[in-house]
Symmetry: C2
Subunit: 478 residues, 2 copies
Amino acid sequence: MNEHADILLTHAHLFTMQGAGVGYIADGAAAVEGNRIVAVGSTADLTPRFQADETLDATGCAVLPGLIDAHMHTPWAIARGVAQDVAHWMQKALAPYSRHLTPEAALAGAKLNVIEALKAGTTTMVDYTQPVPGWAEFFVQTGVRGRLTPNINALPRGGMAGWKIGDLYPFDLDEGQRQINAAAAFARDWHGAADGRITVMLGPQAPDMLPKDQLLQVKRLADRDGLMIHMHVAQGDREINQMVKRFGQRTPAYLQELGYLDNQLLAVHLTEATDEEAALIAASGVGMALCSGSIGIIDGIVPPSHAFRQAGGMVALGSDQAAGNNCNNIFNEMKLTALFNKIKYRDPTVLPAWEALRMATVEGARAIGLGDEIGSLEAGKQADLIVVDLAAPNLSPVMAAPVRNIVPNLVYAASGHEVRDVMVAGRLVVRAGRVLTADEAAIQAEAQAQAGALARRVAADPVHREMALMGAMAAGQL
Amino acid sequence: MNEHADILLTHAHLFTMQGAGVGYIADGAAAVEGNRIVAVGSTADLTPRFQADETLDATGCAVLPGLIDAHMHTPWAIARGVAQDVAHWMQKALAPYSRHLTPEAALAGAKLNVIEALKAGTTTMVDYTQPVPGWAEFFVQTGVRGRLTPNINALPRGGMAGWKIGDLYPFDLDEGQRQINAAAAFARDWHGAADGRITVMLGPQAPDMLPKDQLLQVKRLADRDGLMIHMHVAQGDREINQMVKRFGQRTPAYLQELGYLDNQLLAVHLTEATDEEAALIAASGVGMALCSGSIGIIDGIVPPSHAFRQAGGMVALGSDQAAGNNCNNIFNEMKLTALFNKIKYRDPTVLPAWEALRMATVEGARAIGLGDEIGSLEAGKQADLIVVDLAAPNLSPVMAAPVRNIVPNLVYAASGHEVRDVMVAGRLVVRAGRVLTADEAAIQAEAQAQAGALARRVAADPVHREMALMGAMAAGQL
């Protein structure tokens, strides 16, 4: 008993995610000192070795690396559920809410979404949005690991009124430059904040939403400052149409020509990429953020993550935005990813549970560029972990042999509410299902108040009459 | 205040499911007397009208008809998570567990599964299994609505040792007859029990698992006693192969010729039915039990429910068995059903949220033959309802207009743990998320003990070495 630990977690079904599988340790333990894991092993080995200030008993629980959500738009929780079951969801369902979104509403949505995800075991959130005051501060406050990405595009600031689906977008070069400058300033302020728990990525919204010069300018900035780029790529037929019309190329070829395809890029969606394009992108070292639930609801499409991984690419899971998806929960994304791919290939052996779990943890960490810091439970890495109660009826019973049933149940049966404790950077931020670092009830109430006001603004704007769901409202289907 | 109610539920977002949509009533109320709903309307209308023994405040909650699970095998919760990500799941993964399943283990699994489903808002469970002592009694005890179906097949009692995939099954006519007689006796004992809350269906396992004479005998028995038939139909390529080899016909044509296709049949799965066969079956008045999660995991297939409904058929949702699916949760099935069909047709407008909700309630009730009694909240029907807390972060915020977001969030974001209260036949059986009619912890502990013993029996049987998942175990993937 000669080593000190702040916290010694004991008696867990420990999934370290080390090695090529799930790295299971029976009756496992982990010692945490400061913000890092200092040892992982069996309870029998670690208990005599460490003198711990606190022991966290995980009997009957699975302990995993904290889950990674590689692509979120947290403010959109403010309009959860307003934009599904329609074609052209962005223009025909979300646009009026977007037009009337205030910074206060956006912040209220972001807070709600962070709480939702955190309670469901997500410890790292890669959040893409137009920054509003208080956004980054909330990540600092709650203790969540944030990889924050300020939105950059060159679309007219006042909105796209008058733009018709199929037309080229108008560009506003001054607006594009302003947003690039703002993102660079945000990165200077926040990259590395909170002992490195907050990092920043640069976020050109999509290759069709910036002129070529400005897209290249972002790449130079990223290379200069050692920042990764987080960008929607081949995210829909709308984008591909814009690319072909304006640049004469589909997105992957265009990005390759511009030198964008390297391991500093996190490419989101790839909805419209062919298998060949996905393989090309993967082979360049790019990471992929796969948003199965969102793209399933919005487009009815299963993106080519299987081809991407076959080509050696690393895939992370993302929950995207609650206005369409409608939840931000990586347990949900693991399940949908496994199932959608089985269906796509009509083969139950495609994308087994353990692969989905790796995408949500160790593989996802690599895809977003944090593979050295998070994604597995091993000495030297950040102490980001979750404790999942396997006594929940839907995760019971536990069988150890000849087949261990825990991983399949975590992927196919868990919903996230079984998460008991959450630790980020060595700090317990959720205990017994309660967030310790924020006032959940106040956040829910503020979101409700802001959403009510937002809905009233949308209702007062005649443009709402063109929303696709107004017919469903009139027919009593909502 | 001249009418009496046992319970008056008030201030709900009430989804009655009356009419062609979701039958929404703002600030809604429902009055319950005995086991029936006596009035549904606005809180303002019902409060002065009823003198209630108890008022149940549902402010901030959605209230819906209790969800209907049209196809379960509750005992298999005892082996949750042992049979996914493999081909030939029944033979290559489940078979050793099946061989070593004892009545005690089966009962422990059934109890666990009923509790799991009940807590997630399922009030009617159509359960298909080999009856074991205590099974029906547990439905009576917990207050759940049970539609119990004893399994009938003519397969050799001692198991299928020596049978090879692709060979015709051996039939044991005596065993078939014994099972028919046992099912008839079970129906005499239980059909209509507990004030009609327990009903019985006859369950020939599948058309390929009984000789023609015995299948016809079951149909005559069902017609004579006014029982519905609950049968797996076109459930896999295995079945179709058996049918063509033995009877020279695919399943739908065979059943049509035998006079099986009428509104007294609940046809489960239809995995291998073509769209044309599905339409034929639907047009005959047959109800369909669609098990999206199970068939997705087991086969990577989306059954033809869309074609079935286009032909006018009624579809109910089923969760099947936890050894493969791995959870028994109709919120999960609603979400998967909507998403899988969008993907199948590559169209986000296919199977909108309200249709999934109808399949889980009013349409499902019709499919299983209980349309007059349950499935909607209206005066005269059984008081089966659930109260869902919309203050959960993943269901917040609530927007009322111009687009009401509750139904999409219930289908795409809810996981079932937001269910606060559950009423079946006028009796509150779950309050504040706790089951009032059974000891949850004791049930979980018994299931864990039985599962441990079952796993030890399987491990001691050399046949376990041929299980498909042994490779994944050896590779550290489980």
